[in-house]
Each structure stands twice: as structure tokens, then as C-alpha cells.
């Protein structure tokens, strides 16, 4: 239908003869509705589309869902598989490593002509004159040797990943040999490719102030046995590309990306299903209370008062202890149940209020007068009119559910290991946060971005769906 909006009359000389500026015909009826009529949902969608923040959040939420559902199809790494020689590795792509032989049996270097435990000398112990390597160092083992020090009854081996700047900055003591005639040490502790500075300090009761330092550079390597797990025909000396870990690995050598995707399933499953369940329960009970009125309403509302007075997280913890999760269970169902039992009251009050308000409104009375059945009233009028408000409350309860899951898992009361969830991954990561920040940061960022997206989406939905609650801005 073509429609011309009525324009005020203007001087033709000023506006020329452009058709837009011709006087409107008198016949255009003033009553004709000039825009197509929109349903409530079409209107809401239009409003939401205009809200850039909300649209972006909708995109993020969809991306997250896609990541959980489709991600594992593309990133086919087992979240439980461990690579024990690549623990807490930073994000890496296309790491290539030389296949190396398992080093031969370690034979300690001793000097029979040197005293094992001499008496403590008068003067301070000297610095070993030289430090060397027994054989080629690799990430499997570093074997050090050094010249003996007169009067020493043992040596302490320090390791650091930074060049020492004098005494006291030698790093951590990785080992100690007892006996002045024992002159070598094998370090196999948690080696990874990179530079190491080893320092040998002589000792007899007291440690000497200073030691001798040597820099050791380790190339990326993989033992033959591990390489053969990757490719059966791997041979020593050949360069192999290792599986990449775009987000690094965790403290057990598991791929962080795969675990984040598996964790997303748990966190989003709980974060979305729990609010759905409790909103559904609440709306059902609250709607019923509002519709029935009288004593039923009174009793139900007293019950909600009581449940609302319970400290939420305290009882979440308590219920978790009770419903608990025996061995082999993930602890997801107890968490869902406790959340529903403690959280249905909010939506119940909301639905009750809405129903009470709508019940007395004119259009319901009109419908009733026209002979509508209770079912018709409920499904045609009451429910659609409350749906918007309830949808908004649902969107806002998703972040709170995700928060709750993260909080509980973080204090060790949530999902049971080895089931990953973002909260439990944060809990694992925080203990090593200062040394390996990526283990904590990635799950933390995922939680924050998800909660942020749902919060903004909730704001947008509220502005779009609920004309009474539009935010002031």
C-alpha cells in the first residue's frame, strides 16, 4: 500500500516542482495508519537491533555456544590427554623438536684421591675452578661436572633461568651432593627448552658465599619413546613437529584449549540450564499462586519469604556437601538441583505479581466477558504478557548462575575433578598464577566475557521488551 505523509502546504516557488513537495491531496485519510502494524516481538527485535552493545553481546553468546558445540569437532584433542614433558607450557604453535636418544646410564664422577669429608677449613671455601658438562645436555637431562674445592664436604647445585648478578641470585637449589670427592650432578627436574644458568657452590657445614656459573642452552627435544607414540617410525635425529597448544598446557600437561571447550560445556550447561529450570519452576508456582489467590497464595508466598531469607551461597555449599557426588560423579546434578531449590523464588514473585496485576486489567475482563476459558486466558493473554519480563529476568540470572558455578568450583565445592569447568580451571590455575599466568587467565577471561555478554544482552533485552523498566541513560 502506497502512502504519502501529509505535508504542510508550502510556496511552490520555494520548493520547485519536485513531487515530494507538491501539496498533499486532500483525499488522504488522516486515520490511515502509515506504518505496518508490529507485534510485540517484532517491535522488541527492532529495538534490540538498534542497540549495538546488545547485538555484539548476542554475537559473543552465539560464538560461545558455537565454540562449545562445534569447537570440539575441529579441535580434536582429548581434554584429558596428558603430555608429561610439556607441563604448564605457554601458548605455542608449530613447535618443532629433534628426536633425541634417552641419555645413557648416569655414572657419577668421583675422585678417589680426594677426601670425602675433610674437617671444616679455617678460611672461607673457594669457588670451584671450573664447571663443565659430562655429556651433551638435552631437555631430558643435564649432567654437570666441576673441579673439586679444597676443604669441601659437599656441593650445592643452583639453577636459574636468568643470569645471576652476584651472590644470592643463583636461583633455586635443585640438588646437593654430599661428599667432597663427588664431582658431578644430574638434573632431570622439569626441564624445558630455553636457557639455564647452573651455579655450583662448595659447602662444608656452611655454604660458601660464591660459586661458579655456567650457561646451558637446551634445544626443543623429544625422547625417542615419546616420539614413537606420535609416529611409530620416528628415528633419532629427525625433526618432528609436536602437537601445538594454541592456549598452552596446564599443570598436568593437558591442552588448555580442549579443556576450555570441555569446561565451556559444563559451565554453560549449568549456567543456562539451571536458570531455565528455576525460572520455569518459579513461574509455574508463582503464576499458580497469583491465579489461585486466597490461602494457596498466602502459603506459597510465606514459603518464598522463608527460602529467600536463606543465605544463598551458604546453602549452596551445604546442599553440595549433602548431595555430594560420590566417586566417579561429576557433581553437576547436585549443583543444578541446589540452584533450583534455592532460586525459584525470584521468578515466582515476579510471575505472581504480573498475574495479579493482569488479572484485574480491562482486556482480561473483556476476554472473560466474551466467554474465554481459563486455558485461553492463560495461554493467550496471561503468559504472552508476562513472557517479556520473565525473559529479561532469565537473561540476568544466567550470569549469576555462571558466577555461582565458578565460585563454588573455585573453592573446591563445585564440579569434581577431573571434570573441567571454568571455575575449577581457575582454581587449578591460581596456585601457579605467578609463574604460569596463562593457566589462570584464559578461563578467567572466558568467565568474564561470558558474564559480560549476558549482562549486556540482558540490558538490551530489558530495554527492548519491557517498556516500564527502560534504563535511564
Amino acid at each position: 500500500m502506497e502512502m504519502t505523509p501529509a505535508l504542510p502546504r508550502m510556496h511552490e516557488r520555494e520548493v520547485g516542482t519536485h513531487p515530494d513537495f507538491l501539496p498533499a491531496g486532500r483525499r488522504t485519510a488522516a486515520q490511515v495508519i502509515s506504518r505496518p502494524s508490529l507485534t510485540y516481538w517484532e517491535d522488541a527485535w527492532l529495538r534490540l537491533k538498534r542497540n549495538r552493545q546488545a547485538l555484539a553481546s548476542l554475537g559473543i553468546v552465539s560464538a560461545l555456544l558455537l565454540l562449545t558445540l562445534v569447537g570440539p569437532l575441529f579441535w580434536r584433542v582429548d581434554p584429558a590427554a596428558q603430555e608429561l614433558n610439556r607441563i604448564s607450557e605457554s601458548p605455542s604453535f608449530g613447535v618443532r623438536a629433534r628426536v633425541i636418544e634417552e641419555p645413557g646410564t648416569y655414572e657419577e664422577l668421583t675422585r678417589s684421591d680426594w677426601p670425602e669429608s675433610p674437617a671444616a677449613p679455617e678460611r672461607a671455601l673457594e669457588i670451584p675452578r671450573a664447571i663443565g658438562l659430562l655429556d651433551e645436555p638435552s631437555i631430558l637431562a643435564v649432567r654437570l661436572r666441576w673441579e673439586p674445592v679444597e676443604g669441601a664436604a659437599g656441593y650445592v647445585i643452583y639453577r636459574s633461568d636468568r643470569a645471576p648478578e652476584g651472590a644470592g641470585s643463583y636461583g633455586v637449589p635443585v640438588g646437593e651432593v654430599l661428599g667432597g670427592n663427588r664431582l658431578s650432578y644430574e638434573d632431570r627436574f622439569n626441564l624445558s627448552p630455553g636457557e639455564y644458568y647452573y651455579t655450583i657452590v662448595a659447602k662444608n657445614g656452611m655454604e660458601a658465599d660464591r660459586g661458579i656459573t655456567r650457561k646451558v642452552v637446551l634445544e626443543p627435544g623429544i625422547s625417542l619413546a615419546d616420539a614413537q607414540l606420535l609416529r611409530a617410525d620416528a628415528r633419532v635425529g629427525e625433526i618432528l613437529s609436536l602437537p601445538s597448544h594454541p592456549l598452552g598446557t596446564d599443570y598436568l600437561g593437558r591442552d588448555l584449549l580442549a579443556r576450555l571447550m570441555a569446561g565451556a560445556r559444563i559451565s554453560l550447561f549449568i549456567g543456562i540450564l539451571a536458570p531455565l529450570l528455576w525460572t520455569f519452576t518459579g513461574v509455574l508456582l508463582g503464576g499458580f499462586a497469583g491465579y489461585a489467590g486466597g490461602r494457596v497464595d498466602g502459603v506459597l508466598m510465606r514459603v518464598t519469604d522463608l527460602v529467600m531469607a536463606l543465605p544463598f551461597l551458604l546453602f549452596m555449599i551445604l546442599f553440595k556437601v549433602v548431595l555430594g557426588g560420590g566417586p566417579g560423579e561429576s557433581g553437576i546434578v547436585p549443583m543444578l538441583l541446589s540452584m533450583v531449590v534455592l532460586s525459584w523464588t525470584g521468578p515466582a514473585r515476579l510471575a505472581r505479581g504480573q498475574v495479579l496485576q493482569l488479572r484485574e486489567s480491562e482486556f482480561i475482563q473483556a476476554s472473560r466477558l466474551l466467554g474465554a476459558s481459563p486455558a485461553w486466558l492463560l495461554f493467550r493473554h496471561l503468559l504472552p504478557n508476562t513472557l517479556g519480563v520473565i525473559l529479561v529476568s532469565l537473561t540476568f540470572s544466567i550470569p549469576s548462575a555462571i558466577f555461582t558455578e565458578a565460585f563454588l568450583s573455585f573453592i573446591g565445592m563445585g564440579v569434581v575433578p577431573p571434570t573441567p569447568s571454568w571455575g575449577s580451571m581457575c582454581n587449578d590455575g591460581i596456585q601457579r598464577f605467578l609463574t604460569y599466568p596463562h593457566e589462570f587467565l584464559f578461563p578467567a577471561v572466558f568467565i568474564s566475557v561470558t558474564v559480560l555478554a549476558f549482562n549486556l544482552l540482558g540490558d538490551g533485552l530489558r530495554d527492548a521488551l519491557d517498556p516500564k523498566m527502560r534504563s535511564v541513560s
Binding site: D305, L306, A309, L310, P311, F312, L313, L314, F315, I317, L318, F319, V321, V322, G324, G326, P399, F403, A406, F407, F410, I411, G412, M413, C426, I430, F433, L434, P437, F440, A444, I447, S448, V449, V451, L452, N455, L456, S471, V472, S473
Partner: protein, 313 residues
Amino acid sequence: MASYILKRVLWGLLTVYFIATATFVAMHSVPGDPIMGAKAMSPEIRANLERRYGLDQPLGVQYGIFLANMARGDFGISYTQQNRSVNDIIREHFPVSALLGILAVVVATAGGILFGSITALYRNKRPDRLIMLGVILGISVPGFVFAALGQFGLTELNALSGREVLPVGGWGTFSHMVLPALVLGLGTMAFFTRLMRSSLLEIVSQDFVRTARAKGLSPVRIFFSHQLRNAILPVITILGPAIATITTGGFVVESVFAIPGLGRYFVQAVQQLDYTVIMGLTVFYGAFLVFMVIAVDIVYGLVDPRISLGKET
């Protein structure tokens, strides 16, 4: 007024009774029993232990004893720590948590009012946008992330400046409290800021503000004695729930910063399944939170003359 307070207190007592009963029922339906985890023991020792903790009585009697003890304020003896009563634990560790909580509430309220006022005064200008971005972050980032980041930042700061600007963990002096209180109050502060902003914006267009302006009052005077005072009221209403949030948030912050507070103790007790401590602390925390909310509501009634207590509900 008096009858309103009485009614609220009675209702609060009923709630606490409900909490106690729910806790009792919950803890007694946990599979296994509290002394199961201990070392292998002869039946005589077991019987002795059961007698000591009253576990040989029928459940109904245990419930009665439990309620009577609770009413007297006796929360029982810990199962995992020899000869330590729950009351001792509360007496020793609650002051720490309370101090931390009060500081966090102060931080949250002061910061919320300050930042909320700034956003409202600079509505839709750069300070407003910037602060509101912070608010969105503050609401969306879990408390333990702030705790970890705060600790990390402090470690770096201490390393950079070559001395201890603030301690990274532990408890004792005021300098130990600064970062934990800040971290604990941050989420609530963001929430308060948002609330304060919308409440101030609502008040700007009210008649009494226009009247004040028409009278020729200075903008400063209008802001402080007309707008601010009225805008603070909604913040006071949600102070009760905010205290609950901060209290439970303390569980995490106390664990991260190694603060010997009651929250860390509670988490530990839950992990060790120390039944009496869990029951005692749940009831204690429950009662504390219920009466905090009541107290805040009463104060709200006193502060806002438009609300006459007793007529509502």
C-alpha cells in the same frame, strides 16, 4: 514502629530456626558419619567417641539437644580439631572477617557514591563513559579474578620498587587489609555506582530540585543537600543483600590472601567435612545475615521519613 521491629525480629528468629533445622536435617542426611574418617578403632573407642559427641542418642533427641545448644549460643566441639569448640573458632576468627567486611562495605559505599555522583554529573561525557565501562567490568569479573590480579600486580609493584609497598598476603597490620578490602568491595562498588547513577538521574528532574534551583541556591548546595541525600536512599536499601555478598565473597578473598578469617575456616571445614563446624558456622552466618538485613531495613525506615514502618507489608 515498635510493633514493626518486634514483628521483623520474630520473623527473623523463625527464619534462623528454619536455617538451623534445615542445616541439621541436611547434615544428618550426608552419607557416612563424622568419625568414619578417623583411624581404625575398636568398638569401645568408637562407642566412647559417639557418646562424647552425642551420636548414640536417637535422632529426635539429638535434634532437641542441638536446638537447645543453639539457643544457648553453644555450637559444639569440632570433630577434626581436638578440644576446640566452634565458639572458640568464631571468637578467634570472626573479628578478622568482620573487620575485613566492614572495610569492604566502607570501600564499596564510599566508592559507589563518589563514582555514581561523578557519572551523573558528567552524564554521557567522557568520565561517565569511562566509569560505566569500569562498572560493567566490575559486575562481570568474578571476585577471585580481582583477587588474583591484585595480588599479581602487587607482587610486580613490590619487585619493581625494590621494597614492600604493601604485603601480598597475611594479616596483622592495616597495610595487610588495604588490597583485600579493595578487592572484596569492588563488585559491590560497581553495583552501587550504577544504582547511584540512575537514582541521581531520576532526582535531577524532580520538582524539589527545580524549586531549589529557582530559589537561587548554588549548584553545590543543591547537589549536596538536595540531590545526594535523596539519591543515597536506594543504596541503603540494598545494603543488606550487599553485606551478604561481601560476607560470602570473603570466603574466596580470605583464601587467596591467606587471611585467618572465619570464611576461610568455613571453606576448610566443608572440605574436611567437619560436621559441627559446618552446622555451627552455617547457623551463625545465617543468623548474622538475617539480622543484618533486618537492621538495615530498620535504619532505612529511620533515614527516610516518607516510609512509615509498620504500614508496609
